[in-house]
């Protein structure tokens, strides 16, 4: 056990038992190069300054810490604050990581970028970063998702990215990751793979967490400056786990701060009806890392469901598994219906359309706030805005847009 919970991963990418590298030999050299170059970048003040510069002028950081007064009144207990990642350029936290990794790719003299995307948020963020830095980009996207997410496909193409439909397997995010890895195996010399979450082989879970940690660092500082103290509870939704890892990491050594991760409870607890990997899954290997997974008895990846396209992933980042086992973060799940209600509630009470992913965290915040004293402070990582979900919400409610 490391001296502090934040002192992970170790040199071989382990967060306690979790993490590591379960990838073909062909990729090891590229991962070693990435690890080496990333370690140099971390120690290079010029790189950190460049990253901070682009976060400010392109992403619009720092994002505000916002007091949700009417949601607080509605819950009738603790004060609810929102860390407004929805106000970032491209409308979600994803861009933080993409800017960082695009800068890293430039440092490594890679001339081409690939990425995977599910609903398209990470694809759009990657396409944006690539346009900004003049890097040619191909994004792998399951054919099923291409069909369902026409707007994001249009945006990526408008940004100059080539969207490659993936026709293998379930034709969704899982298969897009498989296909991107396969591309990378044949193209590692010239290509950097911008993985979109804190998953995959070492060093990706660390790199993505670090680039997303700007969320938690700002939140911590804003709490101290604006509220005079640390929050009692910090809540974030968990799919692969990038917004939550970025939010939680700067707080893990603050033992007074309670951390809560909210997974997608979907339609129920049966296999295939939810995407609650940490709540219902068990340790296994998926997409190059050892972490909690949703599998059948043979080890085949289970089907998942969520109303939110960004949460329906059958794995989760290895650091979350570590936080679960050490008890540092409590993981729970919220179902489709409750998330949908929170989408409307937050829109009407605060004038903010939340992403359906974010709406899951809002539900938990309302529940906890109601149980806590008005002196308690709850911060929600407001990971993204809901414009992208309007078509889906309208469809579910029988409206045509």
């Amino acid at each position: 056990m490391p001296a502090t919970l934040s002192a992970v991963p170790n040199a071989v990418g382990r967060f306690g038992d979790y993490g590591g590298r379960y990838v073909p030999e062909t990729l090891i050299a590229a991962l070693d190069q990435l690890d080496l170059e990333y370690n140099r970048a971390v120690a290079d003040p010029a790189f950190q300054a460049e990253f901070a510069h682009w976060l400010k002028v392109c992403v619009n950081r720092p994002s505000p810490l916002y007091f949700a007064e009417r949601l607080t009144r509605q819950a009738g207990g603790a004060k609810i604050y929102l860390k407004r990642e929805d106000l970032n350029h491209t409308g979600a936290h994803k861009i933080n990581n993409c800017i960082g990794q695009a800068l890293l790719a430039r440092r490594m003299h890679k001339t081409r970028i690939i990425a995977e995307t599910g609903a398209g948020q990470h694809g759009v963020a990657t396409a944006t970063a690539c346009a900004l830095f003049g890097l040619p980009c191909q994004v792998y996207m399951g054919e099923e998702d291409v069909r369902r997410q026409k707007l994001n496909v249009f945006k990526m193409r408008a940004l100059g990215t080539e969207v490659v439909p993936v026709r293998t397997g379930s034709r969704t995010l899982r298969d897009a990751i498989n296909e991107a890895m396969r591309d990378w195996m044949a193209s590692v010399k010239t290509t950097h793979y911008i993985l979109g979450s804190v998953v995959g082989p070492h060093p990706f879970p660390r790199i993505v967490r670090d680039f997303q940690s700007v969320i938690g660092q700002e939140t911590r500082q804003q709490c101290l400056e604006q509220l005079g103290r640390l929050p009692n509870v910090v809540i974030a939704c968990v799919g692969g786990g990038s917004n939550s890892a970025g939010m939680f990491y700067p707080f893990v050594d603050d033992s007074s701060v309670e951390l809560v991760g909210v997974e997608a409870g979907g339609r129920g607890t049966a296999e295939g009806e939810h995407a609650s990997t940490l709540v219902f899954g068990q340790p296994g290997v998926l997409h190059g890392t050892y972490s909690y997974v949703l599998q059948d008895a043979d080890g085949q990846t289970a089907g998942v469901h969520s109303i939110s396209a960004g949460l329906d992933y059958p794995g989760v980042g290895p650091e979350h598994s570590y936080w679960k086992d050490t008890g540092r973060v409590r993981y729970t799940c919220v179902g489709d219906d409750a998330a949908l209600q929170a989408f409307h509630l937050c829109s009407r009470l605060e004038g903010i359309l939340p992403a359906l992913e974010t709406a899951h965290a809002v539900v938990e915040a309302m529940t906890l706030a109601a149980q806590r004293s008005p002196d308690d402070l709850i911060v929600v990582c407001f990971s993204g805005r809901g414009d992208k979900d309007c078509y889906e919400v309208a469809r579910l409610e029988g409206e045509e847009l």
Binding site: V12, G20, R21, Y22, V23, P24, E25, T26, I28, A29, A30, T168, G169, R174, I177, N178, E179, M181, R182, M185, A186, V188, G284, V285, L286, H287, G288, Y290, V293, Q295, A297, D298, G299, Q300, T301
Partner: protein, 266 residues
């Protein structure tokens, strides 16, 4: 003696090379797999690699992934794969069977149970394409305990330092892969591959087997003097993409295998 060691000893004595084709268990279905295996063996296969279908095979190419998907869509389970191996092994005691299995499946079953069940089903070793040497320690220990071969891979991007560690941990044979493969039009092998094989030869006594998109007899002719075994995967599986009666599929497989074996031995 483990049947894989035995095979390469026999081939070494005869100065012959191994033809090592790959088949996915359960593609198109488990009933047809033994027929296709027998077809390959009758055509001259010295060792069979049996693909264990897995839902998210990041280490395999698109042809094999599609084959795994076809098998899984028919409701395939791991126990069915093992009993199919058993049926093939029972008829062909002198042809070693090697599992090609993702570590996800092995981890879920438990390494020891997986190895025991493999041995009981007539398998002699496993290739675990998503298990690099750094993570292979615990499984390698179980394999040593049961004299079950753990075949590790070396790629053109593997550094000499790593390659030394890989050949020290690997047993049975070394699986040499290429990143980009060679096309049928090429008149010669990539010099990096030949250099790497020559270098590996100085590091280990293990047989070196090469697999990288080999689909044509001309490629086999170019390779046969540089490796102890030639692995053919996707080219065979591609023949199963268009549905057909079992006999018809077997005929397609027999034709390709026959031409590759001829090139290997002539």
């Amino acid at each position: 003696m483990n049947p894989i060691d035995d095979l390469f000893h026999r081939l070494r004595d005869r100065r012959s090379r191994a033809f090592m084709p790959f088949l996915t268990a359960g593609d198109p279905d488990l009933a047809t797999t033994p027929l296709l295996a027998q077809t390959l063996i009758d055509a001259g296969a010295n060792l069979l690699e049996i693909g264990f279908p897995y839902s998210d095979p990041i280490a395999d190419g698109p042809v094999i992934q599609a084959s795994y998907t076809r098998a899984l869509e028919r409701g395939l389970h791991l126990d069915g794969v093992f009993s199919t191996c058993q049926a093939i092994a029972a008829k062909n005691p002198s042809v070693p069977l090697v599992a090609m299995a993702s570590f996800s499946l092995i981890h879920r079953r438990g390494p020891e149970r997986f190895v025991r069940q493999s041995l009981e089903s007539g398998l002699s070793g496993a290739v675990v394409p998503d298990l690099p040497v750094e993570e292979a320690g615990p499984l390698a220990a179980v394999c040593r305990q049961f004299d079950f071969k753990l075949i590790l891979l070396v790629s053109p991007t593997t550094t000499p330092e790593r390659a030394r560690r890989i050949v020290q941990t690997a047993t049975g044979f070394v699986y040499c892969v290429s990143v980009t493969g060679i096309t049928g039009e090429r008149a010669s092998l990539p010099s990096e591959l030949l250099d790497q094989l020559r270098w590996l030869r100085q590091q280990t006594d293990l047989p070196l087997c090469v697999g990288f998109g080999i689909s044509k007899p001309e490629q086999v002719t170019l390779l046969r003097d540089h490796a102890e075994g030639i692995i053919v995967g996707s080219a065979i599986i591609r023949l199963l993409e268009t549905p057909g009666q079992p006999k018809e599929l077997a005929q397609r497989v027999a034709t390709l295998a026959g031409s590759l074996v001829k090139a290997l031995h002539e």
